[in-house]
Amino acid sequence: MSGAATFAWGALWGAVSLTIVGALTTVLVLVERKISGRIQMRVGPMHTGPHGLLQTVADIVKLLFKEDVRPARADAMAFRLGPLLTAVPAVLSFAVIPFGAPLIMRDLNVGVLYFLAVPGVTAVGLLLAGWASYDNYSFLGGLRSSAQFISYEIPRTLAVVGVVMLAGSLRVSAVLEAQRTVPFLVLEPLGFVLYLVTTLAEVNRTPFDIPEAESELVAGYHTEYSGFRWALFFLAEYGALFAASAFATVLFLGGGNGPLLPAFVWFLVKTLAIVFLTMWIRWTLPRFRSDQLMRLAWKVFLPLSLVNLVLAGLAMQVVAG
């Protein structure tokens, strides 16, 4: 492709990714509220639209019209930059997600590494937002989130290294090609569990949502935000959740591989199944304490991820025969 065509293709994908993240958040928030209702023997939102289907649409309209409040002593630049640096990496990570064979923006040589690296910038946004708000709850939430992020990034990356060893490539299409017959879930069950659990911690979901634990920190790093800046944190959370689930599908479930249905449909079914799993976990398990969370990362998940590397080596031998 020529330079201009590449640029146009990238810009188109950017717009599409942004739309997808917006639409996904709208749908997933409603789905999550409905699922949480079912799990807690409630019905969830019912009044806006048939069976409450328009609840989140109404919420968006409300958020757009809300006053944009900034605390008087907040650092203006950092306060504005925080939500942006949180949401933009989540949208950028959609560039390497293969929604079916031709539906990938760029099949980078280092696609898998890109997916691990770019959402990591979110930690900068959360820290900035928490610090700039000039509020103790926000500040503690920001600090906790960054400590958690850095700790869980290590076992998460090591869990993915096992997949890269088996596929022999960092290219997304090569990882999918290597799973044409057997998905890596079969060869790497421990890696899958490790990836899933550490991902919950990375996207700040229960049982690892300590950065925004409402009973102790109000709302953590986004306590002082309102209106659409606040909505950006939600876009980031659900965008990152979907992207991470999509990548679990790529790494362990064989992406769009499957009988009868087209690749695109298989990909979405598998991804949404993982999203549902995370919601199920969120409304079933209690939250960890901050020190338990850190101990878990360094004393359980890090050693386990090293064990997983050895197992991946063994699996390589089995595959090679």
């Binding site: 650092d75 590494l113 890109y114 690296a117």
Partner: protein
């Protein structure tokens, strides 16, 4: 490189230079760190334009997602919400002389070296890097691991020593 690529290279280079200067010149430490983050991102883009995609992504992974976060973390733990301006250096004169000497030396050296013609970038740099890390450069690679391990142990000793 095509015309568009050279243009992008120069444009991002200007962003990198400006953000690097701002990181050094500003007196506000938070702005300095954020500007450093912008500089590191710009350098990552430069690597990508130069067909070093692995180095580019690792630059984001390690520096923007790791080092900048650690710097912010350290700032926030030490400054506890106050906007501390950077303290002035003890001997600005000596520092300036040293900086000019090193910078000038680098400029003279690079001008005198006579740059080679740009080569053709290989299509796959990851394979080549991996093979040389675990092949010819294995000793240096492993040595680096030992040095980093020693640094981690040293950091633990320092942290533990303070507590007792």
């Amino acid at each position: 490189m095509s015309g568009g690529q050279s243009m992008l290279f120069v444009l991002v280079g200007v962003v990198a230079a400006v953000s690097a200067l701002y990181a050094v010149l500003t007196r506000q430490i938070l702005r300095s760190i954020m500007s450093l983050g912008a500089f590191l991102t710009a350098v990552a883009v430069e690597f990508y334009v130069l067909a070093a995609d692995f180095v580019s992504v690792v630059q984001i992974f390690v520096y923007v997602g790791g080092v900048v976060v650690l710097m912010l973390f350290a700032l926030m733990l030490s400054a506890s919400g106050e906007r501390h301006p950077l303290a002035g250096a003890d001997r600005p004169g000596l520092g300036a002389v040293l900086a000019y000497l090193v910078g000038g030396g680098l400029v003279v050296a690079s001008l005198g070296a006579g740059l080679p013609e740009p080569g053709k970038a290989p299509a796959q740099t990851v394979d080549l890097l991996g093979r040389s890390f675990l092949g010819g450069q294995l000793f240096a690679f492993e040595l680096m691991g030992v040095v980093l391990l020693a640094a981690v142990v040293a950091a633990l000793v320092v942290a533990r020593g303070e507590r007792q």
